[in-house]
Subunit: 213 residues, 2 copies
């Protein structure tokens, strides 16, 4: 059965997004600082159709994630920033552009039913209204043996952790203190962790854990 | 001028103590799980007068801290668990035993004045009532060129971070999710960090940062 992985950038004080996210500033105030290490990496630039960026351990960790993932799950806010019915959504096609940087099936958790949306480059957004286990079952079926990746946000990751469904938790700890925002690990005490791997670079530390219960 | 270092064990979700600390359970529920890596290390056992424990990177990191520290600063709760006047404190001599595991001058932040208390093994507790900068000045004078270490708790560490007085922040990230308790990095957004060193072991990850502003 496809492995379920949470793999997100996090500030040292535990945030995956800054405060006051908005349509104009989806990562919240200062949130882009959590991803500077990725923006600087060759594999990230290449995935987004650009040249340049640095090779090295950070680029390798990104490439590994890209290669391993067969399907992703994300929350509605991460898809479009919206929350109510689709007619009122300012980004009904998501804010990931016409060629989203996934290239695989993405399952969006929402309360509002909708037909799947096929984008360029292999990304199809499928809207799941019957909960996290259903989304996971759909994603596993679509992942073709590869891993299913929880792309975010924090609340979605917490729901999967609390339900005991996560196999691997990887956090890319950025040397940043945001002070407020959305914390990845909030009110999650059940799962037991074992250190699986640590990759260090001058700009970020990649901590990977096996989730054992 | 003596370097000021915060050096504490922290759960992956950011806690340095569990919920509901008490006289009987000073680390709070589950808090001892943050320190299992240290209890298992040879240098920790030796410092506490015991034999056994494992050599290796974790023991080396502890020994490095022991060698580097000339004076420590801690909050009143970390000293005794008390909060009011000393006559009402159940642990007026602290809960660190007659031979506390410091072996150097310790400055206790409190609102209640008191004469210094000399213990066995080189530990003297000095009670500072005029604030964190005064405690730091006293500790620097006593450290004899070595580092001053913020021993905890979380609120004391936050006060020094917010005041821009900290030079180095080291967290020993235990593979534990506590879910609640006292968070080390709460409401601290000012300081900029640079990754200084990462030491990995199978049971804990030691992340050290330079605090640059």
């Amino acid at each position: 059965m496809s492995h379920l992985t949470i793999d997100l950038s996090m500030s040292l004080d535990g945030y995956v997004a800054g405060p006051d996210p908005s349509q104009e500033d989806p990562l919240g105030a200062g949130g882009e600082r959590l991803h500077e290490w990725a923006f600087a990496a060759q594999s990230w630039q290449e995935k987004h159709g650009h040249e340049g960026g640095e090779p090295g351990p950070d680029a390798d960790v990104i490439q590994e994630r890209l290669d391993a993932t067969g399907a992703s799950i994300m929350g509605r806010k991460m898809y479009s920033g919206g929350s109510g019915g689709w007619d009122d959504d300012r980004n009904p096609r998501g804010w990931w552009g016409d060629n989203p940087p996934f290239g695989h099936p993405v399952f969006v958790l929402t309360h509002h039913a909708r037909e799947p949306l096929e984008m360029e480059g292999g990304t199809t957004f499928t809207f799941v209204t019957d909960g996290i286990e259903s989304a996971l079952a759909h994603a596993r079926a679509a992942a073709d043996g590869k891993e299913v990746h929880i792309a975010g946000g924090a609340e979605v990751a917490q729901q999967y952790l609390r339900a005991g469904l996560v196999d691997t938790l990887q956090v890319h700890v950025a040397p940043v203190l945001l002070g407020s925002g959305a914390r990845l690990l909030e009110g999650v005490s059940g799962p037991a962790l074992e250190i699986d791997r640590v990759v260090a670079s001058p700009t970020v530390t990649h901590l990977r854990y096996r989730v054992t219960s």
